[in-house]
């Protein structure tokens, strides 16, 4: 049944998509790094405009309060201050934010707080001054009278009958709820030998890019044009949102995104600040720059907390017959993204397993938690965590090994491409093989024998397993699952530009933000193969500029680069290649078929030599217009678009949320200290299948980096709030982002099942570790704590949380007595 090696029978859509293989597949060193290391990254904050002014924002100290009075007179009078704008003033001249997925849209949520504040850190007023220091001094001089309101700190609080409402104009704090059923749940549960239930929780944590939000905006009143530079991951959307919010026609907005110092989804939320800073510039007529402080960046835009009630209907042998999930999520308050975390779970609701019958109900609730953003993997890490916890629990209740229960349920490779109960299409993969490799690499059987012996010596060692898929390339259409309407945008495509400059250099702009994940290098490799040229002949421009062609939701998110941006770049490159060859053939009076790009120039089969250099080609194409074939347009610049061919329309009974599906198995060995109860990772093994690997260095870096972020979520990080919803974790001394010292050595092996539906057979890779790791780490710690017979249902697994779980157990008392 299983073939060895790359067992995939499916081939990539276009095997001959690059003409040479001088680059693709090699661990080419990142071209970006030398520039970054030399301080030439050229980030948004490096840009200073003429007559530059600076903004500072006053943040709310309360999580829920009415704004009774704001006195800005002292701030306005401070020398150097040119503008103070309150949220109340802003509300008069802007439109409220609208919901993306939620069926209701509050009318009272503006880019700055209007009548009341809804979370600690919400912008209340903003100042523009001649220096950032003066702006900060002025912020300190703004006096606000707040009337504190009862705080809604939890889903339970929010759902009480007489609960105060986050949005008074809505009927309830429950913003969206829905129910989906696929297959026959009733029968599955009737036929089950065993039903296993539990409630699994997820906490608040977040990616924290080194570079915070930065916006530099200038509204030119002579031309009524807005020019904004921003650290933006989804600039296509920002243009539209800022246009709607401020009433500027989108054609009059130019948004530029220099290289971004880390995206991780966090930078999908910057548009609100692009709107605020642009508004400030409109009001004062100066270019205004704002650099978010670290503390401001920790106030808001996290993953939401919540819980999932899961019920698994199982056969004795571990086979899953049906799964019921009820998801409760505290979405905080930012109607823009409410429900996205719940809806994206459809993409990996059944993970690497065959789940014939599936039921999903979700409730998205507004609270005084800070707003949420689509952080690395969005709802996928929690979905995978909950599922994998249930797999371990099911194994335990059925008395079968944790590895065995997974083997029983994997989607078999011969069923690929496989369509899940809800309609997600897994395009390729060999889950059992990836799993088997991971078991071998981690020496699973050795540890299973060794752990009981170590326990006898008083050492709490455990091994854990996590398996998950990593869906990539979002349709975004799932935004509309909750609504009746047709999606009016989609994320399954992008537009890019490729040109040969007048000097013969091949210039590429993917027309999307470069967020530090090696796009420049990868594009250089791919384009280098199409034209058969060396990297020095290729210039990848990593600025997004909305003045170039782009789609509504242009941006670097959802791990779609490898699919739709490469698709657009390659489409443009090939079109350009063909055009260049036509021009060359006509100019040289040689048959078109005999010409090709080879070794940095144009080669003739007939002449058996290079007949044009790229420089000569450019000279002809831009100047010698009369030598062109009939109807050929001059110049060597192509803007092209690309759509992944497998995106399908959204019907509630059958839809695909994402278009590629990588997968991985993580196996972790931990030891828990008896002194401090701190878990320490002894071994960490990953086998990862992200389809075809274009650059092993970059792909492995992403797999390991995303795992580090998952280890943070599993063991260290949590935003903590007191009862008044004050955020207690506003510095990196309090918010426990792990450092290089905490992240273990990770042993990684790649497996390649090419995707048949992407141009080069690639799949997503940037989120994988963040998705699979949570379950694997929890599984290992639970296993280490087996003598205490405790279950891990929530994260982070801090030493103190471990101690609280075990301190009333018999094993603990025994241990203390023995001392």
């Amino acid at each position: 049944m299983m073939k060895s090696g790359n067992a995939q029978v499916l081939e990539p859509a276009d095997k001959t998509s690059t003409s040479s293989t001088r680059n693709v597949g090699k661990a080419v060193r990142r071209l970006e790094d030398l520039r970054i290391i030399r301080g030439k990254g050229g980030y948004t904050d490096d840009i200073e405009l003429g007559n530059q002014h600076y903004a500072a924002i006053l943040s709310s100290p309360y999580a829920h309060a009415r704004i009774k009075r704001i006195d800005v007179s002292k701030a306005r009078n401070l020398p150097g201050v040119v503008l103070v704008l309150t949220g109340q003033e802003a509300a008069k001249i802007t439109r409220p934010m609208t919901s993306r997925a939620a069926t209701v849209s509050p009318k009272s949520h503006y880019i700055m707080a209007n009548e009341k504040v809804r979370y600690m850190g919400e912008p209340v007023a903003a100042v523009v001054a001649t220096s950032r220091y003066i702006a900060q001094d002025a912020v300190d001089l703004i006096e606000v009278d707040y009337e504190p309101l009862p705080v809604i700190a939890s889903i339970e609080d929010a759902m009480k009958k007489d609960a105060p409402r986050i949005y008074e104009e809505l009927d309830s704090n429950e913003i969206v709820t829905d129910h989906f059923e696929f297959g026959n749940l009733k029968r599955a549960f009737q036929e089950a030998d065993r039903i296993v239930k539990d409630r699994i929780r997820i906490h608040r944590y977040a990616s924290t890019p080194l570079e915070t939000f930065v916006v530099n905006a200038f509204y030119d009143q002579t031309r009524d044009e807005l020019l904004a530079y921003a650290t933006d991951q989804q600039p296509g959307r920002t243009v539209g949102s800022v246009s709607a919010c401020l009433g500027i026609p989108s054609s009059n907005i130019r948004l530029i995104v220099p290289p971004v110092g880390g995206g991780f989804g966090y930078k999908l939320a910057v548009w609100q600040y692009v709107a605020i800073i642009s508004l400030l510039s409109m009001k004062c007529g100066k270019p205004v720059k704002w650099v978010q402080t670290r503390m401001e960046s920790l106030y808001a835009f996290h993953r939401p907390r919540g819980y999932m009630d899961a019920e698994f209907a199982l056969r004795k042998d571990g086979k899953i017959l049906g799964v019921k999930l009820t998801d409760w999520q505290s979405d905080g308050n930012w109607p823009y993204v409410s429900a996205l975390y719940s809806l994206i779970k459809f993409a990996n609701m059944s993970g690497v397993y065959e789940v014939p019958n599936l039921q999903f109900e979700y409730h998205c609730v507004a609270t005084n938690d800070p707003p949420v953003v689509q952080d690395r993997g969005v709802g996928k890490p929690f979905m995978a965590f909950a599922f994998e916890r249930m797999m371990d629990l099911s194994a335990k209740e059925l008395g079968i090994d944790r590895a065995r229960i997974r083997e029983v349920n994997f989607v078999p490779p011969e069923k690929m491409p496989y369509t899940t109960a809800s309609g997600e299409v897994y395009e390729s993969g060999n889950y059992p093989l990836v799993f088997k490799k991971a078991l071998e690499m981690s020496r699973y059987n050795y540890w299973i024998n060794e752990i009981p012996k170590l326990r006898k010596e008083g050492r709490y060692v455990g091994i854990g397993i996590g398996c998950a898929i990593e869906p990539g390339t979002s349709n975004l259409g799932y935004y509309f699952l909750s609504k009746a309407s047709e999606p009016d945008y989609n994320g399954a495509g992008q537009m890019s530009t490729v040109e040969i400059g007048q000097d013969g250099i091949i210039k590429v702009n993917m027309n999307g933000p470069e967020i530090g994940t090696g796009h420049v290098t990868t594009i250089t490799q791919v384009v280098g193969d199409i034209f058969d040229v060396d990297a020095e002949k290729i210039l990848v421009d990593s600025w997004f500029d909305s003045a170039h062609g782009h789609l509504t939701y242009a941006g670097t998110y959802s791990n779609a680069f490898n699919d739709v941006y490469l698709g657009a770049v390659m489409t443009a490159a090939k079109r350009l290649r063909d055009k260049a060859l036509r021009i060359s053939a006509s100019y040289l009076h040689l048959p078109l078929e005999s010409l090709s790009f080879r070794n940095g120039g144009i080669f003739s089969e007939e002449a058996e030599k290079e007949v044009l250099t790229l420089k000569q080609l450019a000279k002809i194409s831009y100047g010698q217009l009369l030598s062109f074939p009939k109807g050929e347009e001059p110049g060597l610049k192509v803007v092209a678009g690309y759509i992944n061919p497998t995106a399908k329309p959204f019907v509630r009974s059958d839809f695909n949320v994402q278009l590629t599906h990588a997968n991985s198995t993580h196996i972790v060995v931990v030891e828990v200290s008896k002194d401090t109860w701190a878990p320490r990772i002894i071994d960490y093994v990953i086998v990862h299948d992200a389809g075809r690997v274009l650059n092993p260095g970059i792909v492995e870096g992403l797999a390991i980096g995303s795992t580090a972020s998952g280890i943070g979520g599993a063991l260290y990080e949590e935003f903590l709030f007191d009862q008044e919803e004050n955020n207690l974790t506003l510095t990196f001394g309090d918010y426990m982002k792990p450092t290089a010292m905490e992240i273990p050595e990770i042993r990684l092996e790649m497996h390649e099942s090419p995707a048949p539906n992407t141009v080069l057979g690639t799949k997503a890779v940037g989120e994988g570790g963040a998705i699979t790791s949570l379950g694997a780490v929890a599984s290992a710690v639970e296993n280490a704590l087996e003598p205490f017979n405790v279950r891990i249902r929530s994260l982070p697994i801090t030493p103190e949380n471990i101690w609280r779980m075990i301190k009333d157990t018999d094993e603990y008392r025994k241990l203390k007595g023995a001392n």
Binding site: A56, R132, Y133, Q136, D137, D140, T293, M295, K674, D675, T676, W677, A678, Y716, L720, L728, T729, T731, G733, D734, M736, P738, T739, M741, E742, T798, P799, E800, W803, R804, K807, N819
Partner: protein
Amino acid sequence: MYPKPLTYRRARTLDEAFSFLSENEDARVIAGGQSIMPMLKLRIASPSLLVDIAPIRELHEIRMEGNEIIIGAMVTHREIIESREIKSNIPMLQETARHIADVQIRNRGTLGGSICEADPSADYTPTLLVLDARVTLKSAKGERTVSLDDFLVGPFEVDIKQGEILTSVIIPVNRSAYSVVKYARRAADFAVASMAALVEKKTDGTVSDIRVAVGAQSDRPLRLRDLESELTGIKPQKRDLHLAVEKAVEGLEPIDDIHGSADYRKEVTSNILKANLGSLIFGGDSK
């Protein structure tokens, strides 16, 4: 970093520093800046004058005087780690410095700054209490030397007067078996629980001198004097040690915050004291 407006002056001599400090009621000394800068940044501290004492040469000295080693206030954590005198005469202090924060902070942070900051979770103070260290303070009016135990008042509070500068720390040479343990969530964090201990035993196993201090377990680091006297002069059994530790820990009122509840800190303190005093007293590795 956007502090409130302030004036910054560099003092080349102690006298110059004293005169700058007397210019301004809320002048503050800046040494390595690793504690005060974050406070300025968050606008929690906003002195109108900062007096930088880094250029004052005598504050950088490490020298022996009889059976004591005298370390200038401006000596950095890194210099403590690298000093031969410290390594051979008070290895325990060197070991302590190795666990402070991260490389960047160790390169800039100073011994005097750490002591004056008096963070109850800082690393030096338990070790220095065990070593019976004293500090020298100078001002325009004169000089005084006090024991560290008296100098430490409470959280972020020391017995220092406006205009005074801590110039040096005096530490009696000590090469006894020691144990320094720091438990923090991340390598560069302040301790959730920490301990420092020295033990001298006679050849027959009788404990002749034991000194133990804990950090992060109170509003300031503490010597556990009852525990010390219970175990001195006897050949303790494991049971004696455990009882003494449990009694000592019982009496602590640890910090209770998001990095560790009071109960949890007691649990860890009790465990690390038992394990590490155990190895010092009964053999095994002395860390």
